[in-house]
Symmetry: C2
């Protein structure tokens, strides 16, 4: 029985989320964490001026709401990119159950640690990579996660707009669009609206920043 299945056992309550509906909003009390069962979500920060930064796109099996456990107030919005369904794990129940099943605590710890690692990697993407590298890394990341879910790593549908991708990657929607066109022109992928087909994952991987390693290896 894997971790998610165990966490699943803790859950009776489910919520259906129509496209564009919010699972939680910034400022609301944190009562639960949520495991995405189907569909996809985005989470985003928003400051006083309305300026938004998307901090993650979630796929089935991934967790929303583990920020905000500090203050008991959500620090972000979680919004469905398509009709979705989540499992609710109330923190009260969690704590009660965790008293009997200590492993739950360490599983939550793992999930949080994973989120920290993910955020740090994203900081690297935003701080150190150029636009083409960012988009290539983004596509490969999606591809891998979908693959882990049993979907094709080569062909998938983007559930988010160009603008959302751009916001997430620290680029404008025009730049994202141009990069898609260029990648398509160069034969790396095919893209039609939100349907993507990755044609040359190896080159994308090189593009995404691993190429430095290859270069350095070549020198020796």
């Amino acid at each position: 029985m894997n971790e998610l299945e165990q966490l699943d056992a803790l859950v009776q309550e489910r919520i259906r989320l129509p496209k564009n509906s919010t699972l939680f909003r910034l400022g609301e009390p944190t009562e639960a964490i949520y495991a995405l069962r189907s569909g996809s979500l985005k989470t985003q920060l928003e400051d006083a001026s309305g300026q938004v930064q998307i901090t993650s796109f979630l796929l089935p099996g991934e967790i929303a709401g583990i920020d905000g456990l500090q203050t008991d107030i959500h620090r972000s919005h979680a919004i469905a990119l398509e009709d979705s369904e989540v499992c609710v794990m109330r923190m009260d129940d969690f704590d009660r159950l965790a008293a009997e099943m200590p492993i739950l605590q360490s599983q939550l710890r793992r999930l949080m640690s994973q989120e920290i690692a993910r955020s740090h990697n994203l900081m690297k993407t935003l701080g150190a990579l150029r636009s083409e590298q960012r988009l290539a890394a983004f596509l490969l990341n999606l591809s891998e996660r979908l693959s882990a879910l049993g979907y094709s790593p080569y062909e998938f549908i983007l559930r988010m707009s160009r603008e959302e991708i751009g916001n997430f990657l620290g680029l404008t929607l025009e730049t994202v669009s141009r990069l898609f066109s260029r990648f398509a022109r160069e034969g790396l992928l095919k893209i039609q609206q939100r349907e993507v087909m990755l044609l040359d994952i190896e080159t994308l991987r090189i593009l995404s920043g691993v190429e430095c390693a290859a270069q350095q290896a070549a020198k020796h």
Copy 2:
């Protein structure tokens, strides 16, 4: 009191870190988390090509090593920016003690949640702000944290080089240097090498991105 004694036992071990020494390195097993007692640290990711991204600068009271709890392997380096001292909390001991003191678990949870929030905010800085906003936000953040420690929020010493600030903020060292010069020319601060004196925190705050809110408020 028993509990306090236990807590004490948890952190009896201390480590002195000379400047530039490493507390832990990427790839090493995660045996403990570390609370900084004095001095300052940086943590940084490093990929196969040697490309580095600094993910945090730590001040006394802050925690290092809570990434890596997922895989039991550190995903970053932690390096002392000056002679420093840390308290060691071995995860074995922590888990044993937490069985008797459940509050420890929730405290760790808070710390991790805090780190997630911090990373997300930084993502916003890296993804959405322009260079001057990034540096202003960086200085104000340092100022606030130092202030919380009882130091002056106006006058402090940067323990990191221009290059390290630039890396952290996704800028080049030249850009950081130019911004310091410009801020000084505009009377926002004085800077001499690594000694900073903030002269106009309000304007810095406006610069750092809150100005949008002010503008919007002004419209209504």
